[in-house]
């Protein structure tokens, strides 16, 4: 059953918003005095299901929030932690801000790149890892630091990287 199509983007796959996702987005809307304030919460609900926000999800979510699809797309593409392209099962975020720079994060980043064999902004062919840079993680006394999914790892050395990454399947 086709729930929604976007006439401006005929190639967009039809998307069926799951009932529990719809309910959760509606719950988020109640926290605000204006429905669109739940935009980021809603995009995160979709992303939790798929790992990213598929094109087709934009229109039905925008409808729930009472805004246009291009408006929601503008929000989705602004925020660095909302993914508008498929990502790997594990997203590695390497802090490259000044406190980690002063603690030589580059050697850690190089060790990651060497281990997974893709560069920043790329996903491994087996869809296991995506590597991204990230803004200061607020753990500068334990630099260098990275996040993998929701886990923060600190005081890293290049030697620790292979074993650490292998924990994430």
């Amino acid at each position: 059953m086709i729930i929604c199509t976007d006439s401006n983007r005929p190639n967009v796959e039809p998307y069926i918003l799951a009932d529990e996702d719809r309910a959760e987005i509606e719950h988020h809307i109640h926290h605000y005095d204006d429905a669109r304030a739940a935009s980021i919460d809603a995009l995160k609900v979709i992303q939790r299901r798929h790992g990213w926000v598929p094109d087709g999800a934009i229109q039905p979510v925008a409808d729930l929030l009472g805004i246009s699809a291009p408006d929601l797309e503008g929000v989705a593409t602004f925020y660095s932690l909302i993914f508008r392209r498929p990502v790997g099962r594990n997203v590695i975020k390497v802090c490259d801000s000044i406190a980690c720079h002063l603690m030589d994060f580059e050697v850690v980043q190089d060790a990651i790149i060497k281990h997974i064999n893709v560069g920043l902004g790329e996903t491994t062919p087996d869809e296991r890892y995506t590597l991204l840079p990230i803004c200061c993680l607020g753990t500068c006394d334990k630099a260098p630091a990275i996040m993998i999914n929701d886990d923060t790892h600190t005081n890293l050395t290049p030697e620790q990287i292979p074993a650490l990454l292998e924990k994430y399947v």
Binding site: H31, Y32, D33, D34, R36, A37, A38, S39, I40, D41, L43, K44, L65, I67, G74, V75, F78, Y79, S80, L81, I82, K93, D96, S97, I98, A99, H101, L102, M103, P133, I134, C135, C136, L137, G138, T139, C140, D141, K142, A143, M147, D150, T152
Partner: protein, 438 residues
């Protein structure tokens, strides 16, 4: 009420309850440590005007980096029965590179922030309070949500708080990245579910903020101070600086970079960077010498070892040509290149620019391009002049918000104090000619 830690509470109010970094999330445990005493004391016995006056008297200056007095900010909020809906927003989007103090306060003492927010919201008679938390702070989100749920169950939040007739709803909003969300008006746009572009000011948020309504945005550390000011009074608060600064209170200072013992310490405001770096952080690692330091984040001007004995307070560091910012010091050692450090900083600012206004969107990547060339030793002779011009053209008054001016602070100070390092990256004419014909 007498408590075992009470004398420590007198001098380190923000952190005395944190023992061995163990979080206090259970409300009963927190109440046994004087928790929510300020709420029971102020509501309903004190009027909102009384609470505002107490904070104004204490001269609590905003701990997010700007140092604007919280009591004066609150004083701009319309009060009275016709004032309509108002909001309190806690800026918990801690993303200033080098800053990790709010993380500690939220992970380890979430109730202290909730308690402070109840006091602030009561003072301005807000009906709803939001904590704008960066999405990466997963543990802080968990602890804050638990704290809010427990405070609701105890009647410190919700309808008709402690029989005052005043109600407050509190909610944690988690972000999805972008440094610019920490800018007050960009934060409000983001909270409304929009792109985090800053807004033109005036009108200031105190008049027209969230959904066009009067809104106060305060930092985590600022709000965390409020319960203590209500409990112990403005005079006690002013005395916390122990004569080290005309400002009152403590400050959570910190140090990162290649020091022996990086970390966070709650100290009297006005403590010197020398004490922070050499006593608390144990000095530089063996074999390293201090070359430069950033007083409080990426958007503050570099200072040198000559400035180590200045009081780390807003006015003193400002007079020295920098800003205290968040007060978390980053050290650069003598083996590190200032050109590389500044290139790293400008790459960060260029990536995090929201793109709203031209000087920032185009100027920052331009500076990165030149810095990368200088770092490789391939800088053109005119680059230093162009970089110098950019520090003015991206400076205060040229852009919507403080992002680009903040980005120019480390650049202009590095050019001032370490110009020779930049000059070394300018290709000699012969080399440049050889490269051109190669």
């Amino acid at each position: 009420m007498t408590l075992p830690n009470n004398n420590l509470g007198e001098i380190k109010p923000l952190t005395y309850r944190i023992v061995d970094n163990k979080p206090v999330v259970d409300i009963n445990e927190y109440e046994a440590l004087d928790g929510y005493l300020s709420v029971r004391k102020a509501i309903p016995a004190m009027s909102p005007a009384d609470v505002q006056a107490a904070v104004k008297d204490a001269n609590l200056r905003g701990r997010g980096g700007a140092g604007f007095p919280a009591g004066i900010k609150w004083g701009l909020i319309p009060m009275g029965p016709d004032a309509g809906a108002k909001y309190l927003v806690c800026n918990a989007d801690e993303m200033e590179p080098g800053t990790f103090k709010d993380r500690l306060l939220m992970e380890c003492l979430p109730h202290q922030l909730v308690e402070g927010m109840i006091i602030a919201a009561y003072a301005i008679q807000a009906k709803r309070a939001y904590i704008f938390l960066r999405g990466e702070y997963v543990l802080a989100a968990k602890h804050l949500n638990e704290a809010i749920e427990q405070a609701n169950a105890k009647g410190y939040l919700g309808e008709n708080i402690l029989g005052s007739g005043w109600s407050l709803d509190m909610h944690v909003h988690t972000g999805a990245g972008r440094y610019i969300c920490g800018e007050e008006t960009a934060l409000i746009n983001s909270l409304e579910g929009r792109r985090a572009n800053p807004r033109a000011k005036p009108p200031f948020p105190q008049i027209a903020g969230l959904w066009g309504r009067p809104t106060i945005v305060n930092n985590v550390e600022t709000l965390s101070n409020l319960s203590h000011i209500i409990n112990r009074g403005a005079d006690w608060f002013k005395g916390l600086s122990q004569g080290k600064s005309p400002d009152g209170g403590t400050k959570i200072y910190g140090a990162s970079g290649k020091v022996k013992n990086p970390g966070l310490w709650e100290l009297p405001i006005g403590t010197t960077a020398r004490e922070i770096i050499y006593e608390h952080a144990g000095g530089m690692r063996d074999g390293l010498e201090l070359k430069a330091w950033l007083p409080g984040g990426a958007s503050t001007d570099f200072l040198t070892p000559d400035h180590l004995d200045l009081a780390m307070d807003f006015d003193t560091i400002m007079k020295a040509g920098s800003r205290m910012g968040t007060g978390l010091v980053m050290v650069v050692d003598h083996t590190q290149s200032m050109v590389s450090a500044v290139r790293n900083l400008e790459q960060f600012f260029a990536r995090e620019s929201c793109g709203w206004c031209t000087p920032c969107r185009d100027g920052l990547p331009w500076s990165v391009k030149m810095l990368l060339a200088i770092e490789r030793g391939e800088g053109k002779p005119e680059y230093l002049d162009i970089l110098q011009q950019l520090t003015r053209q991206l400076g205060p008054g040229k852009t919507f918000c403080a992002h680009a001016p903040g980005a120019m602070e480390p650049l202009q100070s590095a050019l001032k104090y370490f110009r020779s390092e930049f000059e070394q990256g300018i290709a000699a004419p012969a080399t440049a000619a050889a490269t051109a014909t190669a």
